[in-house]
Amino acid sequence: MTEGAKRWTCVEAGCSYELVAADVPSAIQGAQRHIAEAHGSFELEEMIEDVLEDVPESEAGSWSQPTP
């Protein structure tokens, strides 16, 4: 996994939540928080880490806290 900003998208049925985080640990933390709060469930670290996408620097500058 390369360094830099990461994007994670929730794929729960009917959910289109997306987050962009500054790094891998923040993305994992944000994804786990979303799954717990929005779906009353949990997501394992590896399952988040393995599907993170790199975010271009220009996009990462506008670090976003997504909408559920």
Partner: protein
């Protein structure tokens, strides 16, 4: 001491060594390192409070909880037994990082079996096969009233089938045949069973023991097992992704496995009705997330009809129950 002058080396001697710099920086070797760092032991767990809790719950609660734990007790023993073909295939495909990782994977499955054996022995007082078998929920009993779906015991039917195919390919097949058989085996073992079918069951146990405010060691054990499972599942899906990138026609093997056993996924989990008071919809809907995640990890396109069937409210038969 590193040297760049390799021209005099005997290739047969070089072939005796497998580690490379690229390998030890790769994702599979990192999973091996993490497995070694995160090692836990059943011997460190204390079952005393769980045994006290067992004495206080009523017979319906005991029946509901045992329905889940006994299937895990059988399942963990079975997945331990069925993993050898993957280890043999990793060696045949000359992927030493897969071999070292699968060695930890196999040890962890044995440990999970040990955890459930100890829990049933210390808490329920049951250990011998005849004592625990009476609580096993038989999935083959399932009847889908619409007649559209058949339910199999994937863990005890599909894994031996795909395992034998992988082992036979490993012993006598071409590299492409081994890879194709590896995909089918991993799709059944890591993606289907571990990665989709079983995930709601973990949550059912964690939610149940939390709502009862009981069985702290059972809950702790499930959480520890899940940490290991996260590596197992993503190892399998990552391996599938690499092989599918090499030959995109392998993707059909994944869909074939999920299609053959789709009845097990579209039906409701039997434990939902065995344990009173749970949110039935939650465990059904989360299968969509886990299925899409596994497809995303493998780099393949999800089957939309399967997703539609999982969330279709008219498909409401319960796996393991004779009438839906």
């Amino acid at each position: 001491m590193a040297t760049t002058d390799h021209q005099d080396l005997d290739p047969s001697v070089v072939a005796k060594f497998h580690f490379t710099r690229e390998m030890i920086e790769g994702p599979v070797y990192r999973k091996y390192q993490k497995a070694m760092r995160k090692f836990w032991s059943v011997e460190d767990l204390n079952f005393t409070q769980d045994a006290r809790d067992w004495a206080t719950i009523d017979d319906d609660q005991k029946r509901g909880l045992l329905g889940v734990t006994v299937r895990f007790l059988a399942g963990e023993q079975n997945v331990t037994n069925e993993l050898v073909p993957m280890l043999a295939a990793a060696q045949a495909l000359r992927r030493f990082d897969w071999t070292v990782y699968v060695a930890t994977f196999l040890m962890e499955e044995a440990k999970h079996a040990e955890f459930f054996m100890r829990w049933h022995k210390e808490v329920v007082g049951a250990l011998e096969p005849e004592e625990v078998a009476q609580h096993f929920l038989v999935r083959g009993k399932t009847i889908d009233p619409s007649g559209r779906f058949k339910v199999h015991d994937v863990l005890h039917e599909a894994l031996p089938y795909y395992g034998r195919r992988l082992l036979e390919s490993t012993l006598a097949g071409t590299e492409a045949e081994i890879e194709r058989a590896f995909i089918a085996f991993s799709a059944a073992y890591n993606a289907f069973v571990e990665g989709v079918l079983t995930m709601p069951s973990y949550e059912i146990v964690i939610d149940t023991t939390t709502s009862w405010n009981a069985f702290p060691t059972l809950r702790q054990g499930f959480k520890l097992i899940l940490m290991d499972e996260g590596r197992h599942i993503t190892f399998g899906t990552y391996a599938c992704k690499l092989l599918i990138e090499k030959d995109p026609s392998y993707e059909e093997e994944v869909h074939r496995v999920f299609d053959k056993y789709r009845g097990n996924i579209v039906g409701l989990v039997e434990y939902q009705k065995a344990v009173p008071g749970l949110d039935l919809g939650k465990y059904q809907v989360m299968k969509v997330r886990h299925y899409r995640n596994r497809c995303r990890e493998m780099g393949i396109t999800p089957d939309d009809t399967l997703i539609e069937q999982i969330v279709d409210p008219t498909i409401d038969f319960v796996v393991g129950v004779e009438a839906g």
